[in-house]
């Protein structure tokens, strides 16, 4: 019984992490039909901003050396600036292009950021010890949970709730949802396109910063590809959830996280390394049953 509860908690922790990334992707997709591959590189760069750029594999800390609130602030600012810069330089000139063009462009932006980071930081993984005191397990009512996991769950759930409140209750949030629903109509009603799109990128940068710090605390390593897996999984989450639907994106993220953890636990040991292959296979099967995703929106169907 306890074991099952443990698995469920694991699944919630991972699922909420994926949900955060999926929401970032979904928000940007909503306002400009861009599936942003570079989201993963915001995460990577945010993580790398914790250390001083160098070729060393145990580099001295940069933002990571600051007190925790200042560290969080600096990383968030870094990611937000990066996200806004990519929007301004790469995506704004392409705003009227087809989604396929935008997808290729974001692939290029991702490749660019990844290799600039590699030029500065070299391609070797690095180790960084932040929040290692959180690795100790905490025991709550017979459940042993690593502190990191409690942190992840707390942060992601708080961010999710905050984001939902923002989107539902504030004027800006309502504008964003309106824009995600029907961008043209929203503009006709006086919503400023530049503002809404910039806001989407600011939020996606902020979420990337949160995810990057959580990943670093969890794994203690920096890797050029650390943002790749969360983002690819978030892609699939948004597609499963129904492309263009924000609640669908969050739901999809949770589902993929749950399935990953369940497969990790219950798959025969020799198949476990291929877990991701099964997760992605399930993605395709889900799409077969519900090609439009779980929550169908008007964005899913091309209008004449």
């Amino acid at each position: 019984m306890l074991h099952v509860l443990q698995v469920i908690l694991d699944a919630i922790a991972l699922g909420s992490l994926y949900a955060l990334v999926a929401l970032a992707i979904g928000l940007v997709f909503g306002v400009m039909k861009l599936i942003n591959f570079a989201q993963g590189d915001y995460i990577t760069l945010g993580a790398y901003s914790l250390v001083v750029p160098s070729a060393s594999i145990t580099p001295p800390l940069l933002f990571g050396a600051l007190p925790v609130p200042a560290m969080i602030f600096s990383v968030v600012i870094t990611c937000v600036i990066l996200a806004l810069a990519t929007e301004r330089i790469a995506f704004r000139p392409l705003r009227n292009s087809s989604p396929a063009t935008l997808l290729v462009a974001s692939f290029a932006v991702s490749y660019f950021i990844q290799h600039v980071t590699m030029l500065v930081q070299t391609g070797r993984p690095k180790s960084v010890g932040i929040g290692s005191q959180l690795a100790n397990a905490v025991e709550i009512a017979g459940l042993r949970m690593p502190g990191v996991q409690i942190l992840t769950m707390g942060v992601t759930l708080a961010l999710l709730i905050g984001l939902v409140l923002f989107l539902k209750k504030t004027p800006l949030g309502v504008q964003m949802r309106a824009a995600a629903e029907n961008f043209e109509m929203a503009r006709l009603l006086g919503i400023r396109a530049d503002k809404v799109i910039a806001l989407a990128f600011v939020i996606s940068g902020g979420l990337a910063a949160a995810v990057s710090m959580l990943l670093v605390v969890q794994t203690g390593t920096l890797d050029l590809r650390m943002g790749l897996m969360p983002v690819v999984i978030a892609f699939f989450a948004t597609v499963i959830g129904g492309i263009g639907s924000l609640s669908g994106a969050a739901l999809g993220g949770f589902l993929v996280g749950f399935v990953s953890v369940l497969l990790q636990t219950y798959l025969p040991a020799d198949l476990r390394p291929s877990r991701d292959a099964f997760v992605f296979g399930l993605v395709i099967l889900t799409l077969l049953v519900r090609p439009q995703g779980l929550i169908v929106t008007s964005a899913a169907k091309e209008r004449v």
Binding site: I35, A90, P93, L94, R95, N96, S97, S98, P99, A100, T101, L103, V104, A105, F107, A108, V109, Y111, F112, Q114, H115, V116, M118, L119, G123, E184, L228, V232, F235, F236, V239, I243, P273, S274, R275, D276, A277, F280, G281, V283, I284, L287, L288, P291, Q292, G293, A300, K301, E302, R303, V304
Partner: protein, 365 residues
Amino acid sequence: MANLAATLRAAFVLAWPVLGLLLMMAAGVLIVSSFGSISLQRTLTEGLIKIVTVVGLYIFIGNSGVISFGQTAFMAVAAYASAWQTCCPGLKPITMHGLPEFLIRNSIPIIPAGLISILLSALVALIVGLVVMRLSGLAASIATLAVLFILNAAYSNWDSVTMGVSSIVGLPTYVTPWIAYSMAAGAMIVAYLFQISRFGLMLRATREDEVAARSVGLSVFWLRLIAFVLSGIVMGLAGVLHAHFLGTISIDTFFLNLTFITLAMLVVGGTRSLFGAVAGVFVVMTVIDVFRRVESGVDLWSFKLALPAGTQEVILAMVLLGVLIFRPNGLTGGRELTWPFTRSVTRSVDSMEKKRGHVGGKPAR
């Protein structure tokens, strides 16, 4: 008599977009293989194999307007299949003991092995296509990305057959510039015949306006599936060539980097024409090769210039972005190479296409 001459002339004009490219490429291969250095000849062969790859991408992406990230997976399928049949008889029982008994004991001659490998990649493309082509454009793109990841995860962990993430070394290397050239020619002819065929034209109609195409009774699913499988066949050929050019394969060479570079080639040249696919390979290979040489250091008059490793990729990304922003239809603008001394039907179609723009799908709202 006049009729026959006119027919021949029309056939010539119709064939020119591919014939002209082949003639130019032949001249290039002739010059480089007679006078070029060894390293230039290797770059040439690599470029010709890239043409097979990008033409394979073009058959699906160019005609359907749906971006696919999964085609390099079919290269991997064929490359590994060819390695199982032709590689390292001494090592197979130890490193690849999970293979069928027959394959462990025997090697298959390279040509039938290549054909079987291509057949296998076509089969995989068919199975994948049956599932993925049911999805709408953008969801299909994401699903093809899933296919790439699935294959990568499976082959990376299927140790007893693929040796996991380690390289398989010692495949027979038989790909010379001229062999690569003739294979590229074959791929281009197949692509061109497909695009002027009934199915190719119908598929292009679905690309221009899916709703209108459906309304006249075209099945988007079947048309895309046909192109997807044909693309899978050509990608399989590219995989076999790649394997037997380098003599070594590993699963990570068929992952995001190769996907990005080949897609960049297609987009830089222009996704909507065969000319674009070939020109894109030429331009991007030139950029890559020049910067690869500069990265390893060149003597520039008195001082030695060496850029840090990774510059080439950064430049490539900037080239791709620049083309997307300033020439969204690619350098060729989606036009085919047309015979310059006549007014042809294709040219007027192209000028119509030119007005529309963008990599694929509908222009923006």
